[in-house]
Amino acid sequence: MTAPVLSVEALSVAFRTEHGDLTALDRIDLAVSPGEVVGLVGESGSGKSVTGLALMGLIDAPGRISGGAIRFEGRDLVGLPERDLRSLRGTRLAMIFQDPMTTLNPVLRVDTQMVEAIHAHERVSAAAARARAREALVRVGIPAPDERLRAYPHQLSGGMRQRIAIAIALLHRPALLIADEPTTALDVTIQAQILAEAQTLCAEMGTALVWITHDLAVVAGLADRICVMYAGRIVEEGPVAAVIEAPMHPYTAGLIGSSPSRNARGAPLTQIPGLAPSLGRRPPGCAFAPRCPSATPDCAEPPPVAALPGRTALCRHPLHGEVRA
């Protein structure tokens, strides 16, 4: 196995509030190899988006990285001066966001927003930058690129805008692209196209991809590995096929059980009872215990690591595999 391009160790993010610090991310570990596609799955509030922003160094006050390390291409991004972080953003590290309707500035033309992304990192002539922007649009499959360059975002469809965002993110051939639910706001057919294109482009450029989503089906078809998040922790991690076939953590099993495709036609979907805990009210032990069918009183203690070859889960009573001594 090659050295990972990104290696996150015990990363924590806290938000300062009137009631003390709230922990949004709790000691997460994550490793991404060059060119690998990792799916980060979880429900709303599980910390997926915060993870993405933390990797980019874009956590704003009152939030802050409260511990851990983000090793990216040999450097620790935690504590790196803003100036150095900025020179990495857009060049080595890129990110696209959920809503393509709002990620492009509505009052600036597409070419302005593409050319400025080039000029932020390279001294090239305006004509050369424009030519590269045009080329990038062609690469993401946008017809009539010259016309699109002169357009304002509101003149384009949602799918087109997300493609432009992807084109901008890939302008400098980054080593890692973080995609924060980029297809959620799009309809299903466009979603499939964008997924396929993003995957192909990243494979061509050797760009590793962290795909954040709440949709297990998206990850199943896209990712090499999957990380399941719950209440600010990564509760299970492993190769995508193995995890879906035989989940170790009861939460993962619950997620899989509640996906429509897994159920017989006409039968009601199974649900996970209860709600995810709010940031301030996490139990000291396993956060999933109150909703978990296999919970026992000792789940109130911090959960141990359970393992299978190439896989881990944070659970005292894993459905598969053994708890490490």
Binding site: M56, L58, R86, S87, L88, R89, G90, T91, A94, M95, I96, F97, Q98, D99, T102, T103, L104, N105, P106, V107, L108, R109, E116, A117, A120, H121, Y152, H154, Q155, A165, I168, A169
Partner: protein, 325 residues
Amino acid sequence: MLTYLFQRFGQALVTIAAMALLVFVGVYAIADPIDMLAAPDATADERAAIAARLGLDRPLPVQFATFAWNALHGDLGRSFVYNEPAVQVILQRLPATLELAFTALAIAVVVGLPLGLWAGLRPDSASGRAIMAGSILGFSLPNFWQGLMLVLVFAVTLGWLPAGGRGETVRVLGIETGLLTLDGLRHLVLPALNLALFKLAVVIRLARAGTREAMLQDFVRFARAKGLAPSRIVGVHVLKTILLPVITVIGLELGSMIAFAVVTETVFAWPGIGKLLIDSINRLDRPVVVAYLMLTVCLFIVINLVVDLIYAALDPRVRLSESEP
């Protein structure tokens, strides 16, 4: 575009007609100008002669019809007091007011936008709070009191600047202007500042609110993820977004600054149209009051149209005609 202009022109005509009726009837109701024009010991015959000469003996509908007919030919009547065409009396005073209003506008925008941006970017800093506190004073303290204080501090106590009048003027292209002489500029500072303070406070608040809102938008986050410098994010992405509401309000305020600089002009004895209006109301100089209000209506209509056009130029989402796709 052309359709739009025609529509606006039609609306403007209806507005002007309605205002003409309101203004004429309103001024008619205030008092009988004969009381002011005739000598206190005038006989009934003398009073009747004056009324007949000025047309004041005829019934209201006839007077209005005469006024409307003459107005359509560009004649808004002769001033009872100056015995000159009312429009000419007003136009002679207009350059002084325009000078004052535009200088005040420039101060409000040039000082207000940067302060508002700063306060919006650092809402919790001491400087941000100080700016907001200052802006509250700016529009809660009465305008005339601010004017008196300016006179007291800078003219009376410190003796730095003159307290009243317009100072030395020169004729450029047939228009008297004080902008080209040092003495004229010195006279302009205090009244312009007085007139600007309220608008300055408004611009600061609008810019701050706009900045705070814009900084939370996805497009700002995406711009940061592209690795853009903060100066470009604030100076291009944010500034262009917040200009829209600022321009709308400034447009309306410009009209009111020109039309109702009455208080400032009175405090600083500025020979503009605001002071003329007060004098004319006191002397019941009906034609001047009516002509003044009619010109004001036209002024507002023109300014609103210009604001709409600028708006369309700045925000590509605003369309002025329905023919575009």
